[in-house]
Amino acid sequence: MSSARMNHLLGLEGVSREQIQTILDLGREFKAVGQRRIKKVPTLRGITVVLMFIEPSTRTRISFEVAAKRLSAETLAFTASSSSLSKGETLLDTAQNLMAMRPDVIVLRHAYSGAPHFLAKNVHAAVVNAGDGQHEHPTQSLLDMFTMQEKKGSLDGLEVAIVGDIRHSRVALSNMFGLTTMGAKVRVAGPRTMLPPYLDRLGVRVFDRIEPAIEGADVVMMLRIQKERMGKDLFPSDREYARVFGLDETKLRLAKPDAVVMHPGPMNRGVEITPEVADGSRSVILEQVENGVAVRMAVLYLLSAHLVEGA
């Protein structure tokens, strides 16, 4: 049991199977709380959660905020535009000022990879990485795995295809760490310009076409194409991307008949995914959003319980 303890959640690299399973199991009970008439439990009364979003994000911030509130924690939202960071203050100065408010948990979204690790070393609070640059986004992967487990029963041996801009996606990296730890078989696919060189060390199969990657897959996860990268050196146009790498009903027929389609959002309809697939019967995209609140409740609960326990 003690090995399931966590001080921070900075990424899924190195997080054990037992720890991930603990979070997913707790997520099930917290999902049930969200489906009651009174969607709130008193568990984290007196706990302060700071939501520090130094990079724009609406859905992840709101998901964490709902998760904290359903646990009766106090939340303090702090966004880039409203903060002194835009006036030139360093992350450490901002964090130290925040510490004066004695937060128990800091949820950080930051454009720089490693920012949550830096924060964790310098503050006396549990730090949750809500997405750092092109590095990790662990709670997104946890909600993805929760959704897969709910739909497919077990992650062990599950064939999961991740398609899109693998190189710049923190969702992809966290999922590669998490899914391989849980025994899933991961395939990734994308244009060669969007495939990083280190993939062979992560225990995943790599394809530069979508078709072989999704053939026989149980789960097809489409990544968002960041339009700002279009028309530069990575990819000529979104129309060509849609034709070659976009998921439509024809390509989806290559996956298992009961395969589910996932997307971390926000979607570019008509680019990486057609509206027919996004709104189709195999899409679990909106369930992912609901499950996000549940796994974030589990993470906040585990981190807070440990924190006050003090050890």
Partner: protein, 186 residues
């Protein structure tokens, strides 16, 4: 807990005594559930097992069985952050409308009363019962809250260093019994 271990001190009830206690409880519950608008809610995990035993006995007597809910009170405890082991949250399932119901809350052991306080908080998040009664297999005394049981299988005197454990076959034990353990410093 480092430096301490638990030794079996005495057996409070063997299988026959536990059986007789459940019979007495069933007897006492019959008039309480007669109205028809009643239900049993067992507290995870021991209370849920006791509640299922009670329902089986009512069914054996040909009585209509009230619906069963199970409640995990971990998220409502007042000591979640006071040095508990890894907090495990078990399943909560109250698959019926609680508003206006006569609720019989069932637990295995009644001790400080804190679990029941938490259970009452959890219960009212599901609805507004007409009334709530409490049925326990063992009342071991040493209350810290003003909470008493309406139906009791057996009462015993204990001390704070003792631990009263209800062991039943459906929890994976070889036989039904209630054991008093004592913490021993090494």
């Amino acid at each position: 807990m480092p430096g301490t271990r638990r030794v079996e001190k005495r057996i409070l009830m063997d299988a026959a005594a536990l059986d007789a206690a459940l019979d007495r409880m069933t007897e006492a519950l019959v008039p309480l559930v007669a109205g028809g608008r009643s239900c049993l809610v067992g507290i995870q995990t021991g209370g849920a097992h006791v509640a299922r035993r009670l329902l089986a006995r009512m069914a054996a007597r040909g009585l209509p069985a009230p619906p069963l809910g199970v409640l995990d009170i971990t998220l409502y405890r007042d000591d979640t952050f006071l040095g508990l082991a890894q907090p495990v949250v078990r399943h909560t399932d109250v698959p019926f409308e609680l508003n206006g119901m006569d609720v019989i809350l069932v637990d295995d052991v009644l001790y400080t009363g804190r679990t029941i306080r938490a259970a009452l908080d959890a219960l009212v998040d599901f609805g507004r019962p007409r009334l709530v009664r409490l049925a326990v297999l063992v009342d071991r005394g040493l209350r810290e809250y003003p909470i008493q049981a309406d139906v009791v299988g057996t009462r015993c005197e204990t001390t704070a260093v003792e631990n009263v454990q209800v062991e039943m076959t459906e929890m994976g034990n070889a036989t039904d019994r209630v054991v008093i353990y004592e913490r021993e410093s090494r």
